[in-house]
């Protein structure tokens, strides 16, 4: 154990604490501030008494709290998914959407929203869009996984994902061409992504499944590090490439697909946060970066959601606009300054 290593560990611990603290503050702000502002004392009273009856109580328990938690979860899942894929493909510009899962989700949602195919339901409810997008995302995931077991190298797989995306996108744009005007607006808004309208049962499900996936991903830390040297070195060090390739893709797509299904495609988080985490923790060690991305992703996404809600209140901006608008320059400057790549 050298002094350099100890110094690095101290720095990493420091950042973990800072990020966690700022995230707690952001989440609290997200819950307190809005069209109806609620003071901290009221908030603590409503939470401790589990008051859902009053107006404030209703707003907090049924609107703001699910949304704030969903933003944290969404940010965490997307970031970890992005990290997994960046390591797996050894490519810095890979994000969860590179494998076409968003496009799959979008295609299914477009079928439901634009063609009026309601699967037997009398009207288009949020549940149907969620279901459709879930089916779309995981259908593409299944196809990519099947192909992943056959192809030898990562780049081929990357292209497979891209092509899947283009295919889905092509069909979506055809549907758009034929769609009625008023339906298009709803669809476009969905495409921008939002963390509003989350239900508690969705959050429960996401927490349980996502939590399990995150634990699994953390357990993959050691082989993930080996993947940093490329598949050839990884296998020579004892990594079962086929198994871990499937595990990594499965975890990444499941995490990203879950969020996309409910919140729509949220851009940029999966691409940017892993880079920020690397710079922040000054390491490529995935055993640090997985929890790092969970926290940093949660923080950044709730911050972006806060900005999206607040800047032009009461008009709410799409979350993807904020993530990209603030995220892109930040990542760009970080990368240029430190000249990092993967």
């Amino acid at each position: 154990m050298t002094s350099e290593t100890i110094h690095l560990q101290k720095r990493q611990t420091f950042w973990f604490i800072v990020i966690l603290a700022v995230m707690a503050v952001t989440v609290a702000l997200n819950i307190m501030i809005g069209s109806v502002s609620i003071s901290f004392s009221d908030l603590s009273h409503i939470v401790s008494a589990h008051d859902t009856a009053s107006t404030e109580g209703f707003i907090i328990w049924n609107i703001r709290m699910p949304r704030a938690i969903a933003a944290v979860l969404g940010g965490a899942f997307l970031s970890v998914a992005g990290l997994l894929l960046q390591v797996f493909f050894r490519n810095p510009i890979v994000s969860p959407f590179i494998l076409g899962i968003t496009h799959g989700a979008t295609l299914m949602v477009s079928i439901v929203m634009l063609t009026g195919l309601t699967l037997g339901f009398s009207q288009i409810s949020p549940y149907i869009t969620t279901l459709a997008s879930f089916v779309g995302a995981y259908a593409v995931l299944a196809i990519v996984l099947v192909i992943a077991t056959r192809v030898k190298n990562g780049v081929t797989l990357l292209i497979v994902g891209l092509m899947m995306g283009y295919l889905c996108h092509a069909v979506t744009s055809m549907l758009l061409a034929f769609a009625e005007k008023e339906k298009i607006k709803g669809f476009v808004l969905w495409q921008l992504g939002s963390f509003s309208g989350f239900q508690w049962n969705e959050i429960q499900l996401m927490t349980i499944i996502g939590g399990l996936l995150l634990v699994l991903v953390y357990g993959l830390g050691k082989p993930l590090n080996a993947f940093l040297l490329g598949e050839d070195y990884a296998s020579s060090m004892g990594v079962n490439i086929r198994l871990f390739r499937i595990l990594i893709l499965l975890c990444a797509c499941a995490l990203a697909g879950m969020i996309t299904a409910v919140a729509g495609p949220v851009a940029f988080i999966g691409l940017a946060v892993p880079h920020m985490a690397r710079l922040c923790f000054n390491t490529s060690d995935n055993r640090i970066l997985v929890p790092g991305c969970v926290l940093l992703g949660g923080l950044i996404t709730s911050l972006c959601d806060f900005i999206a809600r607040m800047v032009f209140s009461p008009v709410e901006l799409p979350i993807s606009a904020i993530t990209a608008f603030f995220g892109a320059p930040i990542v760009l400057s970080l990368l240029l300054k430190r000249k990092v790549s993967i």
């Binding site: 154990m1 050298t2 350099e4 290593t5 050894r90 357990g219 830390g221 050691k222 590090n225 080996a226 940093l228 040297l229 490329g230 050839d232 070195y233 296998s235 020579s236 060090m237 004892g238 990594v239 079962n240 690397r278 000054n282 390491t283 490529s284 060690d285 055993r287 990092v340 790549s341 993967i342």
Partner: protein, 408 residues
């Protein structure tokens, strides 16, 4: 005694009737050889001959098309990934530059098959990493980011990583590629010390035949879908085998010199170099480089000059070792001098056995041929030249050759 021998000659890698390649293309076929513990094996051959394909098959990155590979008596196919990782490590040509990786972190990755579920390094792992860094003389690089290392330094770190894996065998694909001479030699000496000191078996594909010849215990010449020759470099590497291996046209390998000489095209003006006693190697190369056609003599056949002359493709008049130069050879050489533009004297010591060469000087001067000499004493000034030929004393080979170029 027997026990000692058996432990020394233990086979760690055995290849039987192996065919390697891809589904639709067999790259090498019918390979059979054995490598002993602590042996240094060099795979030599032209680009695209299949050296990398063979290495990738030995490291199980490719499955064999036919035949078996036994690693430490165990079938390569049947080893688990972890067992294999503990027996064999690799150094590949692929450039690996993950961000935020210090040399230490990179070498520590080599402990992968030895660490627990989360890969936490124990004190003994850390010791192994430090030892690996020390073996490659890279302790000073410990905290350097690997992206800031030079090619040579990075190669040492790659070898240290392979070493930290604590394997019985290390496979290296062109470990000296892109390296400067210093690092090339350093890497080769490191590999040699791994064999000698650690008893690790090294199999490397190399392009430097001359270095391979001097360091390897065994060489495999890979060409035309097979290993065309396998064995000790002393037996296997000859002028003919190396020329055939690389389809040399303008160069040749000499096993005594252990190096490659560039053949002159022989199209330039013919000059007769009177040489011997290992005095002419530098002059031959310079003349050949400048395009002169070299005729030389009279050399003893165990002389360095003879080997260089042969390798460089110079026409030469020679004499068996330890014999006096015969009148017959002198006559032939004299005739040849008549057809040359000048005669060069390399300033070799004259003794009983090579005194015949003095006759060549005399003949040259009598014929009126200019004589350029590197001789430092006043050998040519005492008996005044009998006829028109004149003597040009020179201090160095380069001065001599530039004088030649001016005057001829």
């Amino acid at each position: 005694m027997n026990q000692v021998n058996s432990s020394v000659n233990q086979t760690v890698l055995q290849v039987d009737h192996l065919s390697v390649g891809y589904k639709d293309k067999t790259v090498l076929r019918e390979l059979s050889f054995q490598v002993e513990k602590g042996g240094f094996v060099s795979l030599l051959g032209p680009n695209g001959a299949g050296k990398t394909t063979l290495l990738r098959t030995l490291s199980r990155h490719l499955s064999p098309l036919y035949g078996t590979v036994l690693v430490d008596q165990a079938d390569l196919k049947k080893l688990t990934q972890k067992e294999l990782a503990k027996t064999m490590s690799v150094v590949l040509t692929e450039k690996v530059t993950p961000p935020f990786f210090r040399a230490w972190d990179f070498v520590a990755m080599g402990r992968y098959p030895h660490t627990g579920f989360m890969g936490k390094l124990t004190a003994s792992d850390e010791k192994a990493v430090m030892e690996a860094l020390a073996m490659v003389h890279a302790e000073n690089l410990l905290f350097r980011d690997i992206n800031t290392l030079s090619d040579g330094e990075r190669q040492k770190i790659l070898i240290a990583r392979a070493l930290a894996q604590d394997p019985a065998i290390i496979l290296l694909d062109e470990p000296t590629m892109h390296l400067d001479l210093k690092h090339r030699m350093e890497v080769m000496t490191i590999l040699q010390s791994l064999c000698r000191e650690k008893g690790i078996t090294v199999v490397a594909s190399l392009h430097d035949v001359d270095i391979a010849a001097k360091i390897s215990d065994k060489v495999a010449l890979v060409k035309d879908s097979q290993i065309i020759a396998w064995g000790e470099p002393e037996n296997v590497l000859s002028t003919d085998s190396v020329s055939a291996l690389y389809d040399f046209k303008g160069a040749s390998f000499n096993r005594y010199l252990g190096s490659i000489e560039i053949r002159g095209n022989g199209a330039g003006k013919p000059v007769f170099v009177v040489a011997g006693m290992s005095s002419a190697a530098i002059l031959y190369r310079l003349l050949s480089k400048r395009g002169f056609s070299i005729i030389t003599g009279i050399l003893h056949e165990n002389d360095l000059d003879f080997f260089v002359a042969e390798s460089i493709g110079a026409e030469n008049y020679s004499q068996p070792p330890m014999t006096s130069i015969t009148t017959e050879t002198i006559q032939k050489a004299k005739k040849r001098i008549a057809a040359c533009t000048c005669v060069i004297d390399t300033g070799f010591p004259l003794g009983d056995l090579n005194h015949g060469n003095a006759e060549l000087f005399k003949a040259a001067l009598e014929m009126g041929s200019p004589l350029y000499t590197l001789r430092k004493d006043d050998y040519f000034s005492q008996p005044a030249p009998a006829s028109g030929g004149c003597v040009f004393p020179c201090n160095s080979e380069s001065q001599l050759v530039s004088l030649l170029e001016q005057q001829l």
